[in-house]
């Protein structure tokens, strides 16, 4: 401990530089991951907001929610087997300044409504709940919104994350959506057994689709996530190589010094602990700084930017960086344990 801290203190500049590089790498990984997650949220957060594992959709539409439409008979058939709530959709446009914004209007049972972040859920046929990102377009609670059918709705509130295939969603009451050109795109299954799902799946014209199958069928989701995830994996690999190389080179530079210490009776264990303490301190400092920075950026980044941070992502990146740093340090430790004090003294 003493050895590790004294060295860090004495060679401040060198170790600040190493910490800074680690901080930048962790920050870059976090930033790209947050962007990837942000883009993912723009594609599938509307599905997540429905809080269901399984959906019933029209067969032969390749799980594409925008092409699915269930008939009354199909809906009744499913509802005879299990409890299922219709998800009605209608693609509309609203005006925002000089441009038009596509808006996917949805209505479902009260139990499946998304969490409201500001305001309240629509209570009358003339109200709607908007995606929070539309605040960036200047919408606020109490504003009037005119849809394609010339009907005007009052914004009753905002939900944090309700988007589908890069379109903002809006929720209205089931009665309100009947005034629009809508269709029942899916049935949301609350609780069901494997056997019930099999029975529904065997019925003609309908298919049981899991939430992840439904998300993967969003064309833009797969197309965006694959290259971004590949980029993140490569960033990690590069970070791992850079960190391992850094810690290895730093240890190699100290070979003769460690040799002298061994010659005067310092155990390999003491030297190994010293290296590990340095690696832990440098990595934790770099990662914690990157977490603070990314959190601050998350607070000020414009709401319409595809940027999504959550504790799982931050914890994952932190743990991965620590693991990578330990692997780098592990390579150095092997070297330290093998240092021949005599060789080290002779090389001085």
């Amino acid at each position: 401990m003493k050895l590790a801290l004294k060295e860090l203190k004495f060679y401040k500049f060198k170790y600040i530089m190493v910490t800074a590089i680690l901080f930048l790498l962790a920050f870059l990984v976090l930033f790209v991951s947050a962007l990837a997650q942000g883009l993912a949220r723009e594609n599938i957060s509307g599905i997540d907001a429905l809080n269901s594992e399984y959906f019933v959709m029209e067969e032969d539409v390749e799980n594409d929610l925008m092409r699915s439409g269930l008939s009354e008979d199909q809906i009744n058939g499913v509802q005879e087997t299990t409890s299922a709530d219709p998800l009605q959709l209608s693609m509309q446009k609203i005006e925002s300044g000089d441009s038009e914004i596509s808006l996917l209007i949805a209505a479902t049972d009260e139990s499946k409504e998304p969490a409201v972040k500001e305001g309240r859920f629509p209570e009358s046929q003339s109200e709607l709940l908007l995606n929070e990102k539309l605040k960036a377009e200047g919408f606020s609670v109490g504003d009037d919104v005119t849809l394609t059918n010339e009907q005007t709705y009052e914004v009753s509130g905002f939900a944090e994350d309700i988007m589908f295939a890069h379109n903002s969603m809006a929720f209205v009451t089931p009665e309100a959506i009947n005034d629009l050109e809508s269709r029942t795109a899916a049935l949301i299954i609350s609780e069901s057994s494997e056997a019930e799902r099999q029975t529904i799946d065997d019925a003609p014209g309908v298919a049981v689709v899991s939430a992840s199958e439904l998300k993967n069928a969003v064309p833009s989701y797969q197309a965006e996530q694959q290259p971004l995830n590949l980029m993140i994996v490569f960033l990690f690999v590069i970070s791992a190589i850079v960190l391992a190389a850094f810690f290895y080179v730093i240890t190699i530079q100290k070979t003769s010094q460690f040799g002298i210490l061994k010659a005067i009776g310092t155990s390999s264990r003491t030297l190994a602990v010293s290296i590990l303490i340095q690696v832990i301190l440098i990595t934790l400092t770099g990662v914690v700084l990157s977490l603070i920075t990314i959190s601050l950026i998350g607070m000020v980044i414009p709401i319409d930017m595809p940027f999504y941070l959550n504790t799982n992502l931050m914890a994952l990146v932190s743990v991965l960086f620590l693991v990578v740093a330990f692997i780098g340090a592990g390579l150095s430790l092997v070297r330290v344990i093998r240092i021949d004090p005599l060789e080290a003294i002779s090389s001085e």
């Binding site: 002298i260 010659a263 005067i264 003294i345 001085e348």
Partner: protein, 230 residues
């Protein structure tokens, strides 16, 4: 420590095998007792550094035995040898080899703390030793701020921190000018006498032979001559 002895019997060291086989030490026998300072001398390649390294447990031997205070330590495990180097053998190198990022007091106390002394005790002992050699004004100085002589004296005190039984020095005056070299050897002699240690020192410098009790001259792996100096 008064009756402590070092006994070296039939010590050999061979490097390589077959055609590349080189016998560096070819049966060394000598003994030393407490308070005795022995100088190992000889031409380059005579085997003196190899002998010192084996005595210090840094290099394995081929045959023979070395007993310090009746303990044959050459066959101990690496871990036990490291511990022995910490507590029973003090090392002084050609250059001071002080740790660049530790002030002089920490430099010494680190070694004592490794041996199990408390932080306060270790610092107390460090300061006492440094005061002994007139470095009390340098307590908080780093090695880079000291002169060559000061660094070497601090390194000698580091070697004494755990009150070793034997002090091994490999050309400790090589990097010092004449006056400083004499000063350091006088200091080593006094330490060995006053603390009842066994001191073994390698040097080429014949001017400092007179400060030793005996000079052992090695030639081609053999102990060629032994001169009584005092």
């Amino acid at each position: 420590m008064n009756n402590m002895t070092l006994e070296v019997h039939g010590l050999t060291k061979t490097f390589g095998t077959g055609d590349a086989k080189t016998d560096v030490l070819k049966g060394i026998d000598f003994s030393a007792s407490s308070g005795e300072l022995i100088i190992l001398s000889g031409a380059s390649g005579s085997g003196k550094s190899t002998l010192l390294s084996i005595l210090g447990g840094l290099l394995s031997h081929t045959e023979g035995e070395v007993k310090l205070d009746d303990v044959d330590y050459l066959d101990l495990s690496e871990k036990e040898l490291t511990k022995m180097r910490l507590t029973d053998i003090g090392f002084i190198f050609q250059s001071s080899h002080l740790i660049p990022y530790m002030d002089i007091v920490s430099q010494l106390s680190f070694v004592a703390e490794q041996a199990g002394l408390s932080k306060n005790e270790a610092r107390k002992r460090s300061k006492a030793l440094l005061e002994e050699i007139g470095l009390s004004h340098r307590f908080n100085s780093y090695p880079g701020m000291l002169s060559g002589g000061e660094r070497q004296r601090a390194a000698i005190m580091r070697a004494l921190m755990n009150k070793p039984k034997m002090l091994l020095a490999d050309e400790p005056t090589a990097s010092l000018d004449g006056a400083r070299a004499i000063e350091v050897v006088e200091m080593l002699r006094d330490i060995v006498k006053d603390r009842g240690m066994i001191g073994i020192l390698i040097t080429h410098d014949s001017r400092i032979f007179e400060y030793a009790d005996r000079v052992l001259t090695l030639e081609d792996g053999h102990l060629k001559a032994e001169s009584q100096m005092q």
